[in-house]
């Protein structure tokens, strides 16, 4: 019956809306989750009105869609439903009736959502070839099955000026295609305004990253939790800029002693060089903090190092900037191309954040990342003397590696990190000329 039908976007809107209204939570979290609530409410409302909604994959620039009055929803970010207890399994299982179990759950969830009828089918689906094969395999197939017009963007294997130009030209063709599919027109003035907001956001994200590297860190993974889901969908909007501005101010307030730090006395600084489990946060993050004084500083998806675009004076320059940005957004930057991209990014995170330990929480479907994990782990140790935990899980589906199992692995690892840090300190005292990488490999 129609009245019994689940309207999942409304549920998400309500769920995240409750977080916004929860006065016991930090303002950053409340506002971030409130924006997520707005995203899903807006998408549902647009669908109800018959306005265009686009499902976009990781890294597809939302700026284009905002400039064309098309609502962009990052399909991979539907994984945020794992924060609603017991909801996500249904959609993963529904998709697994049609595709093998080893397909990425972030791709199975949109498929499952569409199969369930619990969300409106989008007007168009825009994917890019990065970060992984799963997107290539699933998105075109699901779009075909549901009769959704589909556009694929190709981002070249390595970063280069010619590659940025190639992607920029593809983005221009995407705009023409979107105009044909949706009837919405690209307006340069609107695009320019969106890019102004996008630049402000990237500038703030860089400042927040810098802030997060301080010791103690006034801006950790905890406060920045909503950033990636928001950046993949809201970048180019003033509300995202407002959220980031408020986050930066509160981080500064911590530095100035006006607000407390998340971890008062940082005993261990931990950087997550890939994803973090989206489930059981109390078992993972809180436990680390309470039992070990360990602070989770950041994770790869939040490592936004895209510089604002200097020149947005004409359409070609904007598209070139977006072509470059596509290649340098988290995930696309690390997972595509040679492994050194991942290695460079991971080393930079661990080094800049002055981390004592790194955790590669390897999503089981990320074949390319798992194939680079050993190389990255060795490099972090050789260059920085910092141990890395390679931990196998599905960061959405708790059935793969339950929270208790993750916690047990973390306990063992944090002991290693603790010992390594103590050994380094001892050696620094007794052998003042020696480098930290000469400690024994754990």
């Amino acid at each position: 019956m129609e009245e019994d039908k689940i309207r999942l976007f409304e549920l998400l809107g309500d769920g995240f809306g409750e977080v916004r209204d929860n006065e016991n939570l930090m303002p950053e979290i409340r506002m971030g989750m409130g924006l997520l609530s707005d995203i899903y409410r807006k998408a549902q409302a647009a669908s109800d009105r018959g306005d265009p909604v686009a499902w976009i994959s990781f890294g597809v620039p939302p700026e284009i869609f905002h400039a064309m009055d098309i609502v962009p929803l990052c399909d991979a970010m539907f994984c945020v439903i794992c924060s609603l207890p017991g909801v996500v399994d249904k959609y993963i299982d529904l998709a697994t009736e049609h595709v093998p179990g080893y397909i990425c759950s972030t791709n199975k969830i949109p498929m499952g959502l569409a199969l369930s009828g619990d969300v409106p089918i989008p007007t168009v689906w825009v994917a890019q070839n990065a970060p992984c094969d799963s997107i290539l395999g699933v998105d075109s197939s699901a779009a075909s099955y549901f009769g959704i017009p589909y556009y694929g963007i190709h981002v070249p294997y390595v970063n280069s000026p010619s590659g940025y130009k190639y992607t920029a030209e593809d983005l221009k063709r995407l705009v023409v295609w979107l105009e044909e599919q949706t009837g919405r027109k690209m307006n340069f003035d609107k695009l320019h305004e969106v890019m102004v907001q996008s630049n402000k956001a990237h500038d703030l994200l860089m400042k927040l990253r810098e802030m997060g590297t301080r010791v103690p860190s006034p801006y950790t993974r905890f406060e920045s939790a909503p950033n990636y889901p928001l950046a993949t969908q809201l970048i180019g909007t003033p509300e995202f800029v407002e959220y980031l501005g408020m986050s930066l101010q509160r981080a500064q307030d911590r530095v100035d002693g006006k607000l407390p730090y998340i971890v008062d006395e940082e005993k261990l600084r931990i950087a997550w060089i890939y994803a973090m489990p989206g489930y059981n946060p109390e078992l993972i993050g809180d436990y680390m903090r309470d039992e070990y004084g360990a602070v989770s500083l950041t994770y790869m998806l939040n490592n936004m190092v895209v510089e604002p675009t200097e020149d947005i004076s004409d359409y070609d320059k904007i598209m070139l900037a977006l072509g470059k940005k596509v290649a340098n957004m988290p995930m696309t930057r690390e997972c595509r191309g040679p492994w050194e991209n991942y290695g460079d990014s991971s080393v930079s995170i661990v080094k800049d954040y002055k981390a004592d330990g790194a955790i590669f929480a390897g999503h089981i479907a990320c074949k390319s990342n798992w194939a680079a994990a050993k190389l990255v782990k060795d490099r972090i140790w050789e260059e920085l003397g910092v141990p890395t935990l390679n931990l196998e899980l599905d960061f959405i589906d708790a059935r793969v590696t339950p929270g208790e199992d993750v916690q047990n692995r973390l306990i063992d690892f944090l002991e290693v990190v603790k010992r390594n840090k103590e050994n380094k300190a001892k050696k620094a005292k007794t052998l003042p000329g020696k480098t930290s990488t000469e400690t024994k490999k754990p």
């Binding site: 089981i364 479907a365 680079a372």
Partner: protein, 377 residues
């Protein structure tokens, strides 16, 4: 010895006699992994392109230091053999960004043991096919040609490249003739035998191969298979399906594999390379991107489905066995559309997830038997 026996013998060993003879002349051999590799460029440099496989690999202990059970068993097997030195007869490797696992194998080999199998070149094959993609791929090939010239101190002239394309086009034409014979109600060659013929194509000089293939086609015209069959089968799906024993197993149950849409089969040779006189590389780029596609091509799903349906019709196929290697997300991810479209077209469709090594044969046989019972004539 008949041509089929000669070709079959060449498909058995990693370093077969044809390669030994080639190397005895002081010539080089370069390994590659994907049908999007423009072999003609290597061949024009008098370098033998060799498609790497790992037949008989049953353990991946060394490879799994760098890869895991989450990675494709074909790639793990090839990496294992590389670490074990079984490809040491190769003078280098050339890679494409075919899929996540293959590109990472390139990373691991050049990082961990760069001298053992030097990287000759790496081609960024676009994942969509349009004019910009063709231009991009052309530029990649130009760079690859320069890399090959530098690696082996040779000059690839247009004359040599055109000759290489002609030799390869003859192979394509002959293989197509071979497949035409399989359209018959009583084909003269089994699927397992055809797989051996195809394997030989990827591991020996094409001019010699063409001689043997012509001989084979002539011999097959008088040949009749001694056994009947229950159903005509097409094999579809991803790479790594290079084991004739896999075909044997299906045919022992009463299937007759009459065609395929695999990258060792029709996707390798179905369309000739266009000869663009003033820009031979452009012709290569257009043709390689225009051939029946792998699922890595994000904008070619409809064409893939059309090609499959056309092959079913042309080869009077009773059912498709769609095999993918476990963890192959490009092909596995396509199944929603493939199952749906084949159902709508009334084409029986069996999906088999498998590992590279032929394991779990009991279960495999049961599933094939059940499928044949459903569709047999």
């Amino acid at each position: 010895m008949g041509a089929l026996d000669e070709l079959s013998a060449l498909s058995v060993e990693l370093e077969n006699q044809a390669i030994k003879d080639w190397k005895a002349q002081g010539k080089k051999v370069v390994g590659f992994f994907c049908s999007y590799m423009p072999e003609e460029i290597l061949y024009a440099a008098d370098v033998l392109p060799y498609r790497v496989a790992a037949p008989g690999c049953t353990s991946t202990t060394s490879a799994d230091v760098y890869l895991t059970h989450l990675n494709c068993s074909f790639v793990r097997s090839c990496l294992e053999y590389a670490f074990e030195g079984k490809y040491d007869f190769l003078d280098g490797l050339a890679f494409t960004n075919s899929c996540d696992d293959i590109r990472r194998m390139s990373d691991i080999l050049r990082t961990v043991d760069p001298k053992r199998l030097p990287l000759v070149g790496f081609l960024d094959v676009p994942k969509k096919v349009d004019d910009a993609g063709i231009a991009w791929f052309r530029d990649q090939m130009v760079q690859f040609k320069a890399d090959v010239e530098k690696a082996f101190g040779v000059k690839i002239t247009d004359t040599k490249l055109k000759k290489a394309i002609e030799v390869y086009n003859e192979t394509r034409s002959l293989l197509k003739q071979l497949y035409q014979l399989r359209k018959a109600d009583k084909p003269p060659i089994t699927g397992a035998e055809t797989m051996k013929v195809l394997l030989a194509a990827t591991t020996m000089p094409k001019d010699q191969y063409n001689v043997l293939l012509k001989k084979l086609i002539k011999e097959l015209k008088g040949r009749k298979l001694s056994t009947g069959y229950r159903a005509r089968i097409m094999i579809s799906g991803g790479g790594g399906c290079d084991d004739p024993n896999y075909f044997d197993l299906m045919e022992e149950q009463g299937a007759l594999v009459v065609t395929d849409t695999d990258c060792f089969g029709t996707r390798y040779f179905w369309e000739p390379v266009q000869i663009v006189e003033d820009d031979l590389i452009l012709g290569l780029a257009k043709s390689y991107l225009g051939k029946p596609s792998c699922a890595r091509m994000m904008d070619k799903l409809d064409e893939r489905l059309d090609f499959m349906k056309q092959m079913v019709k042309d080869f009077k196929v009773d059912g498709i066995i769609f095999q993918t290697l476990v963890n192959c997300q490009v092909w596995g991810g396509q199944l929603l559309a493939f199952n749906d479209q084949m159902k709508k077209a009334g084409i029986p469709f069996l999906t088999l997830d498998r590992e590279y090594a032929l394991t779990g044969t009991g279960q495999l046989k049961t599933r094939v038997q059940a499928f044949l019972e459903r569709i047999e004539r």
